[in-house]
């Protein structure tokens, strides 16, 4: 089967999956009684109780499921995701406001998580069954057993509470004054990038200072996954005949380990790295809540607690889409770089 055919088939399948996800999310939200869902349409505070019932009628919140679903889907295709009470703005506006904060943390932590994982995994495999290997494996298994929220709180307690460094949030108060002032030109929404574009290095530093703890938190928790995979694929690669041949020929050990074996061991790590990216986004609900970083995770947590239905549905759909797209990209990369994979 040709590549184009494969891509088309995967795209069609992706749309099917997203439809399924949307039906599920919508179905779940329909469990909430209309009287509570109507709050999504109330944009001002002074509303009489008898008006609520007419609003339920107006927006057809008591209609049968398929009718409401089709109406909702139609709105989505017109780019109308509804109004988010927690963001106090239309959902898409809220997303534009919150997403850069999340993206910034993911962009800084994901490469570090992957590098740490690959490095530890390689070292662990080369020294299989030696104390270094045991140590790294124990570290990894502890890492993914720790509750995200607990590790975050401990880090905050020690660094912020006791040592007085690395406060929660995204910027210091002085930094916020700068960012919210009229001179500040927000282009990307990423504080570090905008800081450079505005030539305000103090803001760049301030933002990085606030990124350190959440990044450490994510490295400890998430690199274990990459590390374990890297270790096992590396072990597999090290067991191959050509490695033994190379070593027997007297080739430099370092070259054999880090060039020949690791390159082959890296392949599956490409897959898991994509999934890690999607996973990091989804895990932001907790990380951002603890470090009070106002990104989509923080938004989602507030939306769930306050029954902000449009925001909840949008975020689930968004993360589902990211997951499916990332999976597709990963598979395509995989097919492109590994000649052993046949499309089908």
């Amino acid at each position: 089967m040709s590549m184009l055919n494969y891509v088309i088939r995967r795209l069609l399948f992706m749309i099917l999956v997203l439809f399924g996800v949307s039906i599920l999310v919508f179905g779940v939200m329909m469990l909430i009684p209309p009287g509570m869902r109507v709050s999504a349409y109330i944009t001002h505070e002074r509303i009489r109780p008898d008006q609520i019932d007419s609003m339920i009628e107006l927006y057809g919140l008591r209609d049968p499921f398929p009718i409401q679903y089709v109406r909702w889907l139609g709105n989505i295709f017109r780019g109308d995701f509804g109004f988010s009470v927690t963001a106090e703005s239309p959902v898409l506006e809220g997303f534009k406001l919150y997403f850069p904060t999340t993206l910034e943390l993911v962009l800084y932590s994901a490469p570090l998580v992957i590098l740490v994982g690959i490095w530890f995994g390689t070292v662990s495999a080369i020294h299989k069954d030696k104390p270094v290997d045991h140590g790294i494996r124990l570290f990894a298994i502890i890492g993914y057993s720790l509750p995200t929220f607990w590790l975050g709180l401990l880090l905050l307690m020690v660094f912020y509470g006791y040592l007085g460094v690395f406060p929660p949030g995204t910027l210091s108060n002085e930094g916020k004054d700068v960012v919210y002032s009229p001179e500040w030109i927000a282009i990307t929404g990423l504080l570090t990038v905008d800081g450079i574009l505005n030539w305000r290095w103090d803001i760049v530093w301030d933002a990085l200072y606030h990124l350190i703890l959440p990044t450490i938190n994510l490295i400890i928790l998430s690199s274990a996954l990459i590390m374990r995979l890297m270790r096992s694929t590396m072990l597999e690669a090290l067991g191959q005949d050509y490695i033994r041949t190379a070593l027997a020929k007297g080739a430099d050990r370092k070259t054999v380990y880090y060039k020949h074996a690791r390159r082959n061991g890296l392949l599956p790590v490409v897959t898991i790295s994509g999934i890690l990216f999607a996973g990091l986004l989804a895990g932001m609900v907790i990380t951002e809540t603890i470090f009070t970083r106002k990104g989509i995770g923080w938004w989602m947590a507030r939306a769930a607690l306050q029954l902000d239905v449009p925001a909840i549905m949008f975020n689930v759909l968004f993360l589902g889409t990211v997951f499916v797209v990332v999976n597709l990209i990963v598979d395509l990369i995989y097919a492109a770089i590994d000649p052993r994979i046949r499309l089908g």
């Binding site: 996800v21 720790l146 509750p147 912020y160």
Partner: protein, 327 residues
């Protein structure tokens, strides 16, 4: 993979390797599957990490079983409500009354830790068991019958796979109403796809084995073949997956509780206990780490519980995974 079919059901097939196995069909001891299991268990118990993991799990089993003796509930009708002396907001440090200190509002941490073990086992075991059953039914149907049934079941599985578990979980718990029961239900609804995929891939291999063909040729019904031949040979993989999922399940449930979707304050649930301490990470001015026990203890208990299951699951995977074993 061995067969467990009765000789009468298995007409002489061309498969020479099988003959000694089928004739060795004496209950228990001699059966190759039990031999295999014995071998695996021996290897499992040689691993020091398994022993550590098992010890941790047994410790929590002990806490859960003897909870009424270790921490007698003041109100036996509601043992999960943590007792508290007074309503003082600030937590109190460890003392004679409360050996591990108290949470905000004076809830006894030790009591919560002990009864929380019951909550954790309830959620972990219930969710994993329910998911195993769902996975076994759906996965074996999909794998065994193939065709349209397979297509439908697996496409639904794909949809569930694309759902962000934590975020969708939050939405569903909100829709069902907060509380541990909702969390359990939601984790059951969202957790089955892993098991289904595992069982299906196992069944796909077994389905085409000669002894299955033979059983079908001799007139066994599909149900009989599934129950007597296919499942016994594929069920192990699901049990392994299950043992690895209990820790993660408890972790996710705790995360949902932590976000405020679990039980109310005062209920013996570890996740909920951590969530009440969020405002106490900075101690009083003279002792900045003054409330360490509030933050540290409940979360440490969760971490220990999950670590125990992960250590065990990891060791089990190493031993039973055909790729890793006998190296």
């Amino acid at each position: 993979m061995s067969s467990d079919s009765k000789p009468t059901l298995q007409p002489a097939s061309g498969d020479e390797d099988r003959v000694p196995e089928s004739t060795a069909e004496k209950p228990q001891a001699g059966h190759p599957r039990w031999k295999d299991l014995g071998f695996s268990l021996k290897r499992l118990l040689k691993n020091p990490l398994t022993i550590i993991g098992l010890t941790i799990i047994l410790f929590f089993v002990f806490l859960a079983i003897f909870a009424p003796i270790l921490a007698p509930p003041p109100r036996p009708t509601d043992p999960f409500l943590m007792p508290h002396k007074g309503w003082k907001i600030a937590p109190s440090p460890p003392s004679k009354d409360a050996p591990l200190g108290t949470l905000p509002s004076q809830y006894d941490i030790l009591y919560g830790v002990i009864w929380g073990a019951r909550s954790a086992f309830k959620i972990g075991v219930l969710v994993v068991m329910a998911n195993m059953v769902m996975g076994i039914i759906l996965g074996s149907l999909a794998g065994y019958f193939g065709g349209l049934i397979d297509e439908i079941i697996m496409r639904i599985t794909d949809i569930f796979y694309a759902i962000p578990l934590l975020v969708m979980g939050m939405a569903m718990v909100v829709a069902l109403g907060r509380g541990l029961t909702s969390i359990t239900i939601v984790l059951i609804i969202l957790g089955w796809p892993t098991y289904t995929r595992v069982i299906r891939s196992e069944v796909l291999v077994i389905r085409d084995m000669d002894y299955i063909q033979a059983a079908r040729a001799s007139g066994s019904s599909h149900l009989r073949i599934l129950l007597k031949h296919v499942l016994p040979n594929s069920i192990f993989s699901v049990i392994i997956v299950g043992s690895m999922r209990i820790g993660i399940t408890v972790l996710i449930a705790a995360a949902l509780s932590f976000l405020g979707l679990g039980s109310d304050a005062g209920y013996a649930d570890w996740g909920q206990m951590v969530s009440t301490c969020r405002n106490w990470i900075v101690g009083p001015a003279d002792n900045r780490l003054g409330y360490w026990y509030v933050v540290f203890i409940p979360g440490f208990v969760i971490a220990l519980f999950v670590l125990g299951w992960n250590l065990l699951g990891d060791a089990i995977r190493d031993v039973f995974d055909p790729k890793m074993r006998r190296r």
